[in-house]
Amino acid sequence: MKIGRLLTVLVFVVLIPLVFCGCDRDDETIVHVDMSKREDIKVPEPEPAITYAYLPQYSHTVSYQRHNPLIEYLARETGLPIRQVFPDTFEEHRRMVERGDIDISFSNPMTYIRIAQSGARAFARIIEPSGSPTFRGQIIIRKDNRLIHSIKDCKGKRWIAVDPLSAGGYLFALGLFLKHGITTDDFSEINFAPGPGGKQEKAVLAMYAGKYDLASIREGSLDIVKDKISMDKIRILATTQAYPGWVYAARKGLSPEIVEKISRAMFKLSMNDSTQARILSTAGMRGIIPAKDSDYDSIRDLAASLGMFRENNSFREDSN
């Protein structure tokens, strides 16, 4: 009897873990796959569509996030297949417009005057979030910087700018400096924010961190970083004159009907419509208005004063 009882206990003790271990994982789905059946994969060709590119001011993701609703809206409104493409750099964007890989280019005015040289033509421009169709550059310093009180004090200082081709983030400020007789050589150091995206923020943060004495940014960029830094410690040293804002340009050779369709859809966008308002604010604009190439002559002037694009003296199609 004793042995029987003992055996029962032993069996019980042994069986319980076995029962536990015996349970297979419930969440496991087993799929049998024959790995020997192989095929060569061909890279899929993109379907033919109107290509829309946003100057890579930010990362592709941000670009996508900002412009995808607008692109979808345009596609819906025009009935055209529109696909956003993502050039990695400003330069690539420009070249892709030149090559015809980008049908609709949304770029800053400085880039526009470059691509305009290859035949691209502006047909629309945006109303800035501030409500103005123009935008300005800002020169900011730390409030506690005792050495800089005016633009002239910037001489011999370290300057962090957004990008050499950035209008609001560099070129507008450089134009202002030139007006005050300060050239690039007068700075002890001019540097540009690294990486493809978030350059405006990086410039602010680098100055804020004390790595640079001054930063040049596009007007409105401080709003983006207001959660990351204390605005009390930032001082706007100067604001440049207003220049026309970002511009939509159609590549050379793009059917005017298409341009017409798209621009019509664009101009239809209104902040009064909540859906459209959301599309517009997502894209960082308050509206889209018609534009013509001559609107950007002030930019061409600036570029000329800065000595940019000297390889091609005539940026203006209309020399007048």
């Binding site: 004793k2 536990f20 789905t29 087993i30 799929v31 796959v33 994969i41 993701t61 990695d88």
Partner: protein, 687 residues
Amino acid sequence: MNLLGRLRFRTKINIGITVIVVMTALILAMFVTRMASDALVQEARKRGRVLTGNLVLRSVDPLLSVDLLQLKTMVDEITEVDSDVVYAFIEDERGRILVHTFSDGFPVELINANKVQSGSRMNIVTIDTGKEKIYDFAAPVYLVGKKIGTVRLGLSRTKVQQVTNSLILAISMLTGLALAMAVLVSTQFAKRITARIGMLREHAENLVKGNLVVNRDKKTVNTCHEIRNCGKRDCPAWQDNLRRCWYISGTKCPECGENNYPDKLTNCRNCDIYINSSGDEIQELTETFDVMANTLKYHIEDLETAQKNILRQQKLLQTILSVSPDQVSLVGTDLTYMAVNAAFARSCGKKEEEIMGMRDEDLFNEEISNKRKQEVISIFSTGKIINKENLYQPEDGDPAQWFHTIRVPVYDEDQNITGVLSTARDITELKSYQSQLIQSQKMESVGKLAGGVAHEINTPLGIILGYAQLLQEDVDPESQIYADLGIMEKQARFCRKIVADLLGFSRQTTSDKIEMCFNNSILEVVQLVTHTFKLENVSIITDLDDRYPIIQGDPEKLKQVWLNLLSNALEAMNGGGIVKIITRLDTQDMTITAFFADSGYGIAKKNLNSIFDPFFSTKPVGKGTGLGLSVSFGIIEDHGGKISVTSPLPEGILEEELPEEAGPGTLFTITLPLEPGKEKEILSSEF
């Protein structure tokens, strides 16, 4: 079946420890393996999730820009960095493969092996390729709620399984090692334990065999006085090498207290001697055994002494009860005999032990048993003592016996009657003496009366006789008157003889006792009657004690006794017979006894008690006065002796050849003290 019970203790410990270790190891191995395996799998899955998630995040921009080179670099890098990653590939938003890590074509079945449900962030399936199992992670790449592609990653499960297997192997090896060590240790442990238990068992066996002497090695015990060097020689633990001090009562240590063992153990457990000297449980058990053995030994010795005393007393009591002629019995509440003595058993004709448990009806007839039972029951109910004399008539015709019976209740400590003790003493003899006393008192009264009457009659009778004789002288002897006077004289003389006998009976005649030869007194009478007896064809045989005993007595009166006895004997034998006279001197009792035996017709039993009564005679009227034997009785009594009669003759008295007409015979026994007044009480005579 009880195999476990038959196993050696050592084997049991080994088996037990082995089972425990194996079970523990088994459970541990199972759980640990399972847990480790689970953890590894979870970790692998987690890693897969992380890798896949990472790839998803990194692939957003290249996916948007359709940067196949960057995507390809990313998937290649991930397979290079982590050797567990079997493959990785990225699909576009329509599920078309953009890049993959397979070198020789893409396995087409793989595309549909893992489909992510819409809205789900990731889906994991296990892919069985036949060679190995792979966790396939599929994660869609969403951007602004839109799927822009899917990242797929394959993580080898076989490698996880290999780690698990090596873990199981390691645990198994560790278990085996632990088992070996456990068995080794348990064997040593069991060996030590069982050796000590074996000693204990041997010790216990010795106890069972009755060997209660403790033979512990004295060196192993350091006595408390050696440790403390207290020098208390009057302490019971002083030089007691066989017992630990905490087992000894009345020790003199200040912390011992006044309690005796085992109560004192409470104090002792805090004592430094106990703490330093006491062993483990087995040691304590051994020592407790020793204490028990010693205590048992003392108790057994006490018991033996007590038993001896009890046995001795029991024997004494038994002897007293057995030797006692009184019949003693004890009846219990169930009316059965609880104890009887030898005399009682003898009276019932059974052995003592046979009577135990019997009832009265098993031993006596209905009448007697009912009577006895009623008496016992009345005592049980009333508690009154019964004290009575009763006559018991045996059924076999033996003479009736008188018993003095006392029945007393026996009480227990609660004063309840638990039995009745009966004592029956045979007082038949006492009763006989009582009747004899009454008889002799009667005789004495009769004697006094007769003596008085005889004395008063003697004088007128002498005058009558004298006048009769005188008148005879005056008349013619031939005449009728003379003859009548002769009759008167004869009758008067007869009367005188009666009177003389009466006077003799009442011992109112004087007797002069002188020294005389007892034998000669008898021989003279024998000589006198021999002739007459011969004429009647009766022979007298004498067997006289040749020491010729001398007594103080009246020769004439004794001769009268002998003559009376011989004449009675002659009269009892018609047609001849034998009379035998034997005398025997008892120098111890200072008595002389004469036996007169005849072969006559004997005396009827009913007359035996009456033959010495005056005027009792069986002879026809006128033939005897009935005073012969009573006069003889008086004479013998006068000499301080005793006369008795037995009929028929006891065996061995008359061995001579008897005539045909010989009867049962009679034996008269006369015992006389050699010196009157100094005789011992003659109760009975034995031949």
